[in-house]
């Protein structure tokens, strides 16, 4: 009986596999809007390349990350094209897990990639992943509320201005909060924002000898400012709000300001999803006059795992999906406002795009203002703005994020949270052998 069942299952597995005359690419990607659009346009690619067929594995970011990392580290060979972030690219490239992209084709125009983004996906001058879309972070604010309060948002605001405006614009009885910021624990959640904010206050994760820096006055100022600001002008429940919770709040008209990813700009200005679509202004993430703004840098990029037997077809696909022609294709089908942003200089010189996307200028300025190779005021031994590109960071960032969310929730003092963050980070760094 067991054999029969096994055989039945076996047969159905065999039936599910299509005829193998062609190369089938399995592409792992994140389920963000731009990638979903790419998935929808697959037909255009296979029409041009009839010998290649494509299978999509579209997953939520966290699930995708664990899935892809497990597979590449065990050489499982389940995927031919991976969607990974700027955090993974340098680490994996140095391990030899990625194929350098050298044959993207003559008209690919590598020089057109935004320099900051190109740097972030290159190691030793070699491109290991092709950026699909890039993002920084910036201030999104409600022009109507600012006008009503007689405030004017500068293009490059200071933290003092933002804090002051947030307090003035808070009207808790009307359900309007001066500022919405991330608070949910996680290295890609509250720590992305807080690390970038700390950079603008002159703080850093590690000093040149990899000693954790949470015991420095810069971090104390950062965290105190953040906690007090959220207490005075933030929405309730901030310690479990991530990107989506804040997006929902902002779209419902509950936040006067929101500092988050630049890709959010196309969501909050879309009248289908947002109540405040035509009342949104944009500004650079705040600074303190030390030369760094509180904005991060990230690019979802396509890469090929080393050892892939279909590297040629995979590279063809990557070249197609990140080319200028792909941008034009999306523009023709879905309008200019929906093209993947933040990867190419030419896009920001295109008058049609600049007209269709009111946030284009500020997105580009934000990306330019972030520098993963020199993220902080003082020198650091790591690459990355809102993260340190070392394998241990995800775990450390999550632990520290938990402590900081406790400080925000008020269940821990700022000092206690910083001390706990310091000792947790020291513990991990000692274990990993960075410090004795």
């Amino acid at each position: 009986m067991k054999h029969i069942l096994g055989a039945v299952c076996g047969a159905s597995v065999l039936l599910a596999v299509p005829a193998m005359a062609e190369t089938t690419l399995t592409i792992a990607t994140v389920n963000n809007g731009d990638m979903i659009r790419m998935q929808g346009l697959t037909g255009e690619f296979t029409k041009a390349n009839p010998d290649i067929s494509v299978k999509w594995v579209t997953l939520e970011e966290n699930v995708l990350r664990q899935r892809v990392t497990t597979d590449i580290a065990t050489k499982g060979g389940q995927f031919d094209v991976l969607t990974i972030g700027t955090y993974e690219v340098p680490i994996w490239a140095k391990k030899g897990w990625l194929v350098p992209l050298a044959n993207l084709g003559a008209d690919y125009d590598v020089a057109d990639l935004l320099p900051k983004i190109k740097d972030a996906v290159s190691v030793d001058g070699k491109l290991y992943a092709a950026p699909f879309y890039g993002e920084s972070s910036m201030v999104m604010y409600r022009t109507d509320l600012f006008d009503k309060a007689g405030l004017k948002m500068p293009e490059n605001p200071t933290w003092d201005f933002v804090i002051d405006a947030a307090k003035k614009l808070t009207d808790k009885n009307a359900g309007v909060y001066g500022i919405c910021l991330r608070g949910k624990a996680g290295w890609g959640e509250n720590m992305a924002f807080l690390s970038a904010m700390a950079n603008s206050y002159g703080a850093r994760w590690f000093d040149e000898k990899w000693e954790p820096q949470f015991n420095t006055p810069e971090w104390k100022t950062t965290l105190t400012t953040y906690v007090n600001l959220m207490k005075d002008a933030g929405p309730p429940g901030a310690s479990s709000n991530g990107f989506n919770e804040n997006l929902a709040l902002f779209n419902a008209g509950k936040c006067a300001m929101w500092i988050d990813a630049t890709v959010a700009a196309s969501f909050v200005t879309n009248p289908k999803d947002s109540k405040v679509a035509d009342q949104v202004g944009f500004a650079l993430a705040p600074n303190t006059g030390l030369g760094k703004n509180a904005n991060w840098l990230w690019a979802w990029s396509l890469a090929i795992p080393a050892g892939s037997k279909k590297a040629d077809a995979a590279e063809k696909f990557i070249a197609w999906a990140t080319s200028k022609d792909y941008t034009k294709l999306v523009a023709a089908k879905e309008g200019w406002a929906n093209v993947p942003p933040g990867t190419r200089t030419s896009l920001y010189q295109n008058p049609e795009y600049v007209k269709a996307a009111p946030f284009a200028k500020m997105t580009l300025a934000s990306i330019d203002a972030a520098d993963p190779n020199k993220p902080t005021v003082k020198p650091v031994p790591y690459v990355g703005v809102q993260y340190a590109a070392i394998p241990e960071f995800q775990g450390i960032g999550t632990q520290v994020g938990q402590q900081f969310s406790a400080a925000l929730a008020g269940s821990m003092t700022v000092d206690a949270a910083l001390a706990a963050a310091q000792s947790a980070t020291e513990r991990e760094m000692k274990r990993a052998g960075y410090i004795k």
């Binding site: 009986m1 067991k2 069942l5 096994g6 299952c9 076996g10 159905s12 597995v13 599910a16 596999v17 399995t26 792992a28 994140v30 389920n31 963000n32 809007g33 979903i36 998935q39 929808g40 299978k55 999509w56 594995v57 579209t58 997953l59 939520e60 970011e61 966290n62 699930v63 664990q66 899935r67 497990t70 597979d71 065990t74 050489k75 499982g76 060979g77 389940q78 995927f79 890609g188 991530g242 990107f243 989506n244 997006l247 929902a248 779209n251 419902a252 990813a261 890709v263 969501f267 289908k272 999803d273 947002s274 109540k275």
Partner: protein, 276 residues
């Protein structure tokens, strides 16, 4: 009905039961309603209960974006296959423990349950490596196998408690009549155990249907069941609520329908030995 049920009593208990039933069901109802709203309306305050602009746009998007039927088929094969195989192994085992217990039967039972207590994430890497070398990654057989083993302890345990309740005199009588053990198993025991088998089957179908660790981590595309379908609709970046609601509604629909049609068996068998 032996007890006198006055009209008043029926009315009071009906109102009470419907009230609490509705209360428990409400989050799901809310989710189903959200699946017919636009993303913006799904979060609107004050919320709209029925008088919103009904749209099936989310279902259309879901259908366009992913192959629901492939995933649903995989779910049915994986959940069904693993439950059936688990039953085939578990019936004889539970039978032998229930009717020929030894001193160590109870220990064996508890040991079986304790295998279920190992957190799966702790053994992900070893299992992934083993699956890779046997070519079982992204195969339905691999998923059937792992879910079958994962549920086996519970299946055995449920069947054991259920078999325990079957009156011994009937078995003894059959033996007196000279029935062999094989015949005893097929003609006497099985018919009496059908409700128990049915409910064990159902409970394990539900558990396998919702299993979201192994199915997510060991499948890619060919064998991916509905759990991966769901995982492509909750996003850390972007408004996804109405679409996720639509996807979830689709994912629970088959099992809910199954539950509706078989709830008598389910309810009866869920008591294991409790029903005399």
């Amino acid at each position: 009905m032996a007890r006198k049920s006055t009209t008043q009593r029926v009315v009071v208990s009906t109102i009470g039961a419907w009230f609490f039933g509705f209360l428990i069901f409400f989050p799901i109802l809310w989710m189903v309603l959200a699946s017919f709203k636009t993303e913006l309306e799904a979060f609107a305050i004050p919320p709209s209960f029925l008088f919103f602009h009904w749209t099936t746009e989310n279902y259309a998007t879901v259908q366009e974006r992913s192959d629901y039927f492939l995933h649903a088929m995989n779910s049915i094969i994986i959940a069904g296959g693993s439950t059936l195989i688990a039953l085939l192994i578990a019936v004889p085992a539970a039978w032998s423990m229930a009717f020929s217990p030894t001193k160590r039967t109870k220990d064996v039972l508890l040991w079986m349950l304790s295998t279920k207590m190992m957190p799966p994430v702790g053994v992900l890497v070893p299992i992934y490596l083993i699956y890779k070398s046997f070519g079982l990654l992204d195969s339905r057989i691999g998923l059937v196998f792992i879910l079958c083993l994962g549920n086996l302890p519970i299946v055995i345990w449920m069947l054991f408690t259920y078999f325990k309740e079957i009156p011994r005199d009937i078995l003894e009588a059959a033996r007196m009549d000279g029935a062999t053990i094989g015949r005893e198993l097929v003609y006497v025991l099985t018919p009496m155990a059908i409700p128990g088998l049915a409910s064990t089957l159902l409970l394990n179908l539900i558990l396998a249907w919702n299993e979201a660790f192994w199915t997510l981590n060991l499948s890619t595309s060919n064998a991916a069941p509905l759990t991966t379908f769901i995982a492509s609709y909750s996003s850390p970046e972007g408004l996804f609520w109405a679409k996720l609601s639509a996807a979830s509604t689709l994912a629970i629909a088959p099992i809910l329908v199954l539950g509706w049609f078989s709830q008598k068996q389910l309810v009866r068998g869920l008591t294991f030995g409790a029903v005399k």
